[in-house]
Subunit: 361 residues, 2 copies
């Protein structure tokens, strides 16, 4: 073979390799196309062990002398190739599980895939007594009660059976079917210290990471950041309750047609930990500005108001909290689930921008 033929052949082989690289292994795209996952797996974290007195007899087994582990969180994680410095820990809200962050009800990619494509490690948490972490140490009675129309209203898709005008939610029955089937019962009480202990144990296990909360996990997220110095930032979508104020600075309870919202007092030293990390809070659209007889929507009026009070309190003490009410920056139609709404790529862009601005990406 001549030298030029050898070079030509080598070029051809390398061209093929490069072509394979560019098609089978293209850089992660915004949507669709392959993702290169460096590592993925699952584990239980936190929890307790109940030990029954007595001695276990393998030949005549009874509960005597046996153990039961429960109240742990369950985590499924994926780390993409060339992952950024801090992974995202995504924590669902009330009546939900990790599905919140997965495929959207209308079948598009959720925050799990979107942020994997943006090269973040993604840890999806099922809190204790929920979903894949449903092994509880306390007894529970589950009574299935038809409640979907009420959640449709509370989650601000509309006022059943009407959709809000311009709502970022697909208007077909298959979407609603998937939406409602993403709910699961709590297997036992939502015991705040149990939940936050498991989430804190996760941060101890994985090290520094960014916490992304939704709704009911918002309040538990603040407590987790108080517990764990590994929480490097928090992005909280529509936190619903559990705003922590310094004892003596707790605002009065806020009544609404959707219930009364109460803040929580904590010692100043604990509160001050929340002033050390950047925090962003997001709320969607169709939150009434004045008292509304619609209890589904009205609860969010005071949650947004309290989030602003909390922002001011944390920032007054030297913190870095931002509240983004999406309609005010021209992002319209979002429900209680911006991470799965039709414009969730735009919603993700805002979070990406926040992380970049804080040098956390």
């Amino acid at each position: 073979m001549t030298t030029s033929r050898k070079i030509s052949q080598k070029l051809r082989l390398l061209s093929i390799a490069a072509a394979v690289f560019s098609t089978a292994c293209a850089p992660l795209k915004e949507s669709g196309g392959p993702m290169v996952i460096q590592q993925q797996g699952s584990f239980a974290v936190g929890g307790t062990v109940v030990t029954n007195p007595g001695t276990f007899d393998p030949y005549k087994p009874t509960p005597a002398g046996q153990t039961l582990r429960g109240d742990h969180a369950y985590v499924f994680y994926q780390v993409p190739a060339k992952a950024r410095q801090f992974p995202l820990v995504m924590w669902h809200g009330i009546g939900q599980f990790s599905k919140t962050w997965e495929t959207t009800p209308d079948g598009r990619e959720g925050f799990q895939n979107i942020f994997l494509r943006r090269r973040f490690g993604v840890y999806l948490l099922d809190q204790p007594r929920r979903g894949n972490a449903s092994r509880s140490t306390v007894a529970a009675t589950i009574t299935p009660t038809p409640d979907e129309q009420q959640w449709y209203d509370v989650f601000r898709v509309g006022v059943w059976p009407t959709y809000f005008e311009g709502v970022q939610f697909a208007r077909d029955s298959a979407t609603l079917n998937q939406y409602f089937r993403s709910m699961v019962p709590s297997i036992g009480p939502i015991d705040i210290p149990v939940m936050t202990a498991a989430a804190s144990a996760l941060f101890t296990k994985i090290g520094p990471a960014i916490l992304v909360t939704h709704s009911h996990s918002g309040g538990m997220g603040w407590l987790t950041a108080v517990n764990s110095p590994n929480v490097k930032a928090i992005a909280s979508y529509e936190p619903g309750s559990g705003f922590l104020f310094p004892e003596g600075e707790v605002p009065a309870p806020m009544p609404s047609s959707g219930g009364t919202l109460e803040a929580v007092g904590v010692p100043m030293a604990e509160f001050m930990k929340l002033t050390k990390i950047p925090i962003i809070i997001y709320y969607g659209d169709n939150i009434p500005e004045k008292p509304s007889p619609n209890p589904g929507a009205d609860g969010w009026r005071f949650r947004l108001a309290m989030a602003r009070q909390w922002r001011d309190a944390v920032n007054r003490h030297g913190g870095d909290v931002t509240v983004v009410h999406f309609p005010e920056i021209g992002i319209k139609g979002n429900t209680h689930f911006p991470m799965s709404d039709l414009n969730n790529l735009q919603i993700a862009d805002h979070l990406s921008g926040f992380l970049k601005s804080k040098n956390l990406d």
Copy 2:
């Protein structure tokens, strides 16, 4: 720039591209290293809708006029780049959920990753009323009862607190902790028609696929194959009950110190569907050959015996069932969970070989 310098530069650039390809995007390896995922997501499938009589009032919500969707299965799926023809649907056993196929208790890769690396699409199923599919339409009372030592025995890790000699199970407390935390309660009864309807709906949705069952899903797997022509083959690890025989050919109940095993009669036309697909059944080690006073192990003696009777019945009618008792082919020490045992790559190799031999890979 001279021609030779241009060629030299082009070669260097292509070499870099090839090097990036070979490291960041190497062909899927047996363990570790990146995986190229073409698609991943989750959905609910099957299930029912309960509708309460009355009219829903959004301003004064009560259960009247509301709906509740439940009894669906939940599925998380991943399809690798260049996927093989048929994906694998993996269905957990009793007291378990999709974790069965994920990271092993000692932290290695389970069948989910192993078969993704072998370029199979992998669908992990949570059956209705379990794990992420825990929204049930029937009431349930969950009473946490310490039971781990009993499962240790039934799952043939050993006779608590002793490990079987040579057992394929890591002997450290962190492993046992993860092992026991992979259990979840059933949120409502294990209603066989409800379970098999959801699994059958999955096969209707995704098309032809191979069903991989474990323990209690073994029997429900046979029923799913009777329901759905899209079940192209079944690999069943340690099926525990629900062997389907033609009415009139049902063997007598088999009593053991671990309980009595009863076969199920079905019309001949249904049974005959099981003769149309290749089926392989696997059992692990430490199953007693003679009656044993250890109820944990003894139940498996008759399950293995009935599996062999069932194999003979299906094959007598023209079927293609193989029973592999691992110790008989020199694979020793397996527990009730061969898919997560220390030798799970060897176990996976046997399944790969089976699929190849049937032109299903």
